[in-house]
């Protein structure tokens, strides 16, 4: 009865896995907001409280995600589409993400200049592997440029780290 709601404008049977994971994620989101809205006041229709929208929107999200999960489970066939386009794609994505997280963690202890230098150097050297010389020059030039623009020109205060710069 309700499955017509899941009309897709673009075709693709390899969507089964995508929809199942997406549906589960949104089910969690819906549950989180619906349950949380009880901790703040939901209110009534004539006097809606701070939990009113999170509650009703959360309920709709739960309903829709159940539909999406149901549809993905009822869809036949196996997904043949690989998650990553190349066999080593995951490494580049994961290392880029780790570099971002590392930048955030090391920003205060190392200071803005050093962490930026290492960040750029690491990415240039290891993501699309380049020479040490290329990585060093790219890291040095970009660090000097951003230091000049953001610190000297825009006068923004960044953490100085243990070396004091």
């Amino acid at each position: 009865m309700v499955s017509f709601l899941i009309h897709e404008k673009s075709e693709g049977e390899a969507m089964k896995r995508n929809d199942l994971i997406g549906g589960l994620f949104f089910l969690g989101v819906g549950l989180l907001f619906t349950l949380y809205s009880h901790r703040v006041e939901i209110g009534t229709w004539d006097e809606p409280g701070p939990g009113f929208l999170p509650f009703w929107a959360g309920m709709v999200v739960i309903g829709m995600s159940v539909l999406l999960i149901g549809k993905s489970l009822s869809r036949g066939g196996r997904t043949t589409e690989s998650f990553f386009p190349q066999s080593d794609s995951w490494k580049r994505v994961v290392f880029t993400l780790l570099a971002l997280v590392g930048y955030n963690f090391l920003l205060k202890p190392l200071g803005f200049v050093l962490v930026t230098f290492f960040f750029v150097g690491f990415l240039v050297k290891f993501i699309f592997p380049g020479s040490w010389k290329k990585a060093f020059i790219a890291a040095l030039l970009s660090t000097v440029s951003v230091r000049l623009i953001f610190v000297n020109l825009l006068e923004i205060n960044f953490p100085k780290g243990f070396l004091g710069f």
Binding site: H7, K9, P50, L53, P85, S89, Y103, L123, I127, V146
Partner: protein
């Protein structure tokens, strides 16, 4: 004061050296991001939002608007020389533009793209000037019910226009709406889902969210694979189109401008849709449709004019209703709000200097772009030679520094990375990000208008269909949802047979 008086007042503001400088910086940046594949105008505006904190509001809006229409210019260069669209609205230019380049006619292709964009951008700016003030007057009759219904329609239209599943797009829009409720409730002062994190008190920071969703996620997608491109490297010469080129391109440019402008006013990814519509229209009207796809200049002129006119048209709902019609405009709306400017029916009368200065700056910007685009093409060709392996770390550093410089908060860097992962996963699992960002921006406004409407009507939800303007918006939304479902019903029935 009449229109001419306001225009003169706007010109006085726009011609101030500082605003001229920011107009120049905006269109230059726009052209640059338009040229660089993998970095669209949404991400570019998001990247520059932190910098705009240190700039006066008028200059900020002038600069960010410049990025938007500048990107439309720049995108064509990459499409023509590289056969890779610099941004989504230039996909169609690849077809005939790159063919022209391969035949040694890259110069006229780039030239007609620049002239077409200039003509469309200029007519588009006049269009805003003529259409926006009366539309704003009409919108003065809006109450909370109308606003809620209008914003709902905006979200429904963007869902309708997107290429994914209706159900998935609704889910992402609702997710954006829910994320918008995080932080302190403006009516009761209650904290919602902040978990004691100070940075979440004012809600999820718009800049970290946008930079993550569009900037970081785009980079993560791009680093997945090494893309080998074929750049037409021979010297680009003869940028001025010949008389025959002009004769063939003039009317397609005018038609593209009119079509693009009106598509731009409608919510949705207007610049992209307008290029496809223009190309299809020109092919239909042409006496030699077989020439399309073989390096026919009309296939460049029409769409390039259309995407620029559409970016001008898209400014109208923003200025007059405070409604962003696509993700770029949603980020632009965020910039307005950061500077304490609330676009809507009162905007033009309340901030005439900002509105009219932006209009004048758009004329100026189009002149600057024409001057920039033609002689600087050799420079842009050099930029295209910078390998992505060097470029993406710089973009990431800019994201990190930009977000940190807002509030000197590492929590916000964490938020940006989190949204980056979310955006990346959404793309991988074929969930569209524009409905999320639109709902995230509109969410707090929608919530307060919904609650106000219910309070004023003493809890009667039919208030949204009893008021005529609101009823029209609800009806349009309902029609769009139903019409998008009908093929689904048909498909289902066909399968059952």
């Amino acid at each position: 004061m009449d229109t001419l008086g306001y225009l003169i007042q706007g010109a006085q503001v726009a011609f101030q050296p500082m605003n001229l400088l920011f107009c120049f910086v905006g269109v230059l940046m726009g052209t640059l991001v338009g040229i660089l594949p993998g970095l669209g105008p949404t991400a570019a505006i998001a990247l520059l939002l932190p910098v705009s904190y240190h700039i006066p509001p008028v200059s900020t809006i002038i600069m960010l608007a410049g990025i938007y229409y500048g990107a439309m210019y720049g995108g064509s260069t990459t499409s023509i020389l590289l056969n890779i669209p610099g941004e989504a609205a230039s996909v169609i230019t690849c077809i005939d533009g790159h063919q022209m380049a391969k035949k040694g006619r890259a110069g006229p292709a780039l030239g007609i793209a620049a002239f077409g964009s200039f003509i469309a951008g200029t007519i588009g700016a006049i269009g805003i000037m003529l259409v926006a003030p009366p539309m704003a007057k009409f919108a003065l009759a809006f109450g909370p019910a109308e606003y809620f219904a209008l914003m709902l329609m905006g979200i429904v239209i963007i869902i309708y226009m997107s290429s994914g599943s209706i159900l998935k797009d609704f889910l992402t829009a609702l997710f954006g709406l829910l994320l918008g409720t995080i932080g302190m409730d403006t009516i009761s002062g209650t904290q919602r889902l902040t978990f004691g994190v100070l940075e979440l008190t004012d809600g999820i920071g718009f800049i970290p969210a946008v930079m993550g969703l569009f900037g970081i996620s785009e980079i993560l997608i791009n680093v997945e694979q090494v893309v080998v491109t074929t750049l037409v490297t021979e010297k680009v010469k003869g940028l001025l189109p010949n008389l025959n080129d002009w004769k063939e391109s003039f009317w397609p440019m005018i038609r593209g401008t009119v079509l693009g402008f009106f598509i731009g006013v409608l919510p949705g990814p207007a610049p992209v849709i307008s290029t496809y519509s223009s190309y299809a229209m020109e092919k239909k009207l042409s006496k030699t449709p077989e020439k399309f796809g073989t390096g026919y200049i009309v296939g460049v002129a029409g769409p390039e004019a259309a995407n620029n006119a559409a970016s001008s048209g898209a400014m109208i709902p923003l200025f007059t209703l405070g409604i962003p019609s696509n993700s770029v405009i949603a980020v632009l709306l965020g910039a307005f709000m950061i500077h304490g400017l609330q676009p809507g029916p009162m905007f033009i009368s309340k901030y005439p200097d900002v509105f009219w200065a932006t209009i004048v700056s758009m004329y100026l910007g189009n002149v600057i772009l024409l001057i920039l685009n033609l002689p600087l093409i050799p420079l842009w060709v050099k930029v295209l030679k910078v390998p992505y392996a060097i470029l993406f770390p710089l973009i990431l550093v800019f994201c990190l520094i930009g977000v940190y410089s807002l509030n000197f908060s590492q929590v916000e860097i964490g938020l940006m990375i989190g949204f980056g992962v979310l955006g990346y996963m959404m793309r991988k699992f074929k969930f569209e990000t524009p409905p999320l960002i639109l709902a995230l921006v509109l969410g707090p406004m929608m919530e307060s208008n919904l609650r106000l409407s219910l309070l004023l009507s003493q809890g009667d939800p039919t208030v949204f269909v009893r008021r005529p303007i609101s009823a029209v918006f609800i009806l349009v939304s309902a029609m769009l949802i139903v019409s998008s479902l009908i093929p689904g019903i048909q498909k289902r029935r066909a399968r059952l047979k």
